[in-house]
Subunit: 342 residues, 2 copies
DNA sequence: TTGAAAGCGCTAACAG
DNA sequence: CTGTTAGCGCTTTCAA
């Protein structure tokens, strides 16, 4: 931040006071200022290349025009979990929407022992969009700060905050039901950590629902949970191929895992969908890239990002207003990873 | 930014002046302040939950502790190009390194007609890391602002700024040479836009070098350039399969494109590497996921991100110091997408 | 060893 | 219609 042109320089250049500059800048009292004065001010601004200092404005307004986005990290204190394309897609959509509304994004992970709240207060963030918070995080600490929060894919909400997510239970149902409709009965469930009141738990419930409905017994042995990643998917598929040869289908709760599952089966000499069928979740570009392309439960990530920002702005404008809970619809996208064995 | 605990509140609570608080906060004159006063101040800070306001500090210090990262957008004014995992990986590394050094990232694309410079000045960014700037951008405008810049993968540098990149010409050579060593002579080159003094141009030169060296004639018909994406890769492979059946290998200048190429050949009934071999560039996770897994020219993206931040901090500390140019090494990673037909 | 006060750049009463 | 001025929260010289 080197020496910059300030409002005072502009005032001097235009031969008016700083207040006048400020008025012109903010379109205030535009009727009470002579058009020619306005012109003179604008000329001075142009000439000097004046750009407002948002730190000063933030100080004055108590408003930073900054939105924080909390992206999961691979491990506490480490890097972002961008290995799952979901987050990049979401972030893109958030940035775009925020930008068109005059906000920018502050991106920061947390180091171990550091609370994001501190970061938020440091920078006076106007709102925070949190992705997939887990029960271990104390969401209550945020309540005291009064910083508007938007919870994404979080079932911890008590309507103190806006939230946006999908009907994950229904999503799990859709996936399992789709497989059942295609004749499968031994269906493995592969997901990230199944946290209490987390998305994976809901998807598992949905999977359960579909089994129940079809009168298929639930087999705990077919439930696998580990890291949300390609590697774990691959390992699990190998495990399944070796120890559960009767499994004919897998529902993986993220496309990135599903891609790994396909790889694992392939390594085990099993073809997808020839020997075993796979359904993913999210519909990120990996679903198209993987071979075979992935039949998956699609959620509209762009829309999710867009609405998350809308909710954030909503909360900024009316911090004590009623809290909304938006559900983004899900649908199965049929591609090439499922075979009908019915 | 709701009402916050200020340094004055703390001062009152501790029964000292605001200056004392500031001293304690910044470990200044720690010898000139009674240990018990320090303790009292810290107790007050703790009790009130005081958190420093960085906007105020930024105003005072003329330092925002913010680094801007300029990520390419899919189209002018639109969303980030996160469809290429390269950017997410890079951003992760940048964020992690910046965070450990006490900096945060401001993320913003530009809307049409908007200059990033304005954004940078608005927020008083301490430095900017720019990814793949093109000749059309007027880098000169940045010079006047005096904001430290780090150019990533940019051949437009006149040593006014730090820069970091790879030896793209060598990378192109490595890829083509690898294919030639495996008996290929009709090798297509598939890339994004080949801009004057851009990375793709360099890679093309390197490809050319390898052909020359092997005495293979250069065939302009085998050079394809379009969007850096899966789709264009797939289209191009179809095109090649149809119109250039003698082509036995493809060098795609991004893994995401290479994945598309594999898909396109597959759709055309050609197998990789059975009928045609493919080499990618970057070594993002897609290279592992694609099937067959991709032989590719690896660059260490994490390292690139880390060094980009180091250079940025360097430039912040010593704005007029000598400018460094860092080259990240490249190497071919052998996987399963190339067949030896020699 | 600590406090008073000025000032970073901007805005908005309030005067004039 | 425009200027003066206080103050947002923090730092730092200077004085006590």
């Amino acid at each position: 931040m080197s020496r910059r042109v300030t409002i005072r320089d502009v005032a001097k250049e235009a031969g008016v006071s700083t207040a006048t500059i400020s008025y012109v800048l903010n379109n205030k009292a535009s009727e009470s200022i002579t058009p020619e004065t306005i012109a003179r001010v604008n000329a001075a601004i142009e000439k000097l290349g004046y750009v407002p200092n948002l730190s000063a404005r933030a100080l004055r307004y108590r408003k930073s025009n900054l939105i924080g986005v909390v992206i999961p990290q691979t491990e506490p204190g480490k890097e972002f979990m961008f290995s799952n394309p979901f987050y990049g897609d979401f972030l893109s959509a958030v940035e775009y929407t925020a930008r068109t509304r005059g906000y920018r994004l502050l991106i920061s992970g947390t180091s171990v022992g550091q609370s994001y709240i501190e970061i938020a207060q440091n920078h006076g963030l106007d709102a925070i969009i949190i992705l997939g918070i887990y029960p271990t995080d104390d969401i209550n600490a945020y309540k005291e700060t009064k910083i508007p929060l938007v919870l994404v894919d979080c079932y911890r909400n008590d309507h103190f905050f806006h939230s946006i997510g999908t009907n994950d239970r229904h999503g799990g149902y859709l996936a399992a039901h789709y497989l059942i409709r295609h004749g499968h009965r031994r269906i493995a469930f592969v997901s990230g950590a199944v946290e209490e009141v987390g998305v994976n738990q809901k998807r598992l419930f949905g999977y359960h629902d579909a089994l129940d409905e079809a009168g298929i017994p639930y087999d705990r042995e077919l439930i696998f949970s580990g890291n949300v990643g390609y590697e774990y998917g691959a390992e699990t598929a190998l495990d399944i191929a070796r120890n559960h040869p009767d499994v004919t289908a897998v529902f993986a709760t993220a496309d990135i895992m599903a891609a790994g599952v396909i790889k694992g089966f392939s390594d085990a000499g099993l073809s997808v969908p020839g020997n075993v069928s796979v359904v993913g979740f999210d519909d990120v570009f990996i679903a198209n890239i993987s071979s075979p392309s992935l039949t998956t439960v699609r959620q509209n990530i762009k829309e999710k990002g867009r609405v998350a920002v809308e909710l954030a702005l909503d909360a900024i404008d009316d911090p004590s207003g009623p809290k909304r809970e938006v559900i983004i619809p899900l649908e199965v996208v049929e591609r090439d990873s499922v075979r009908d064995i019915g």
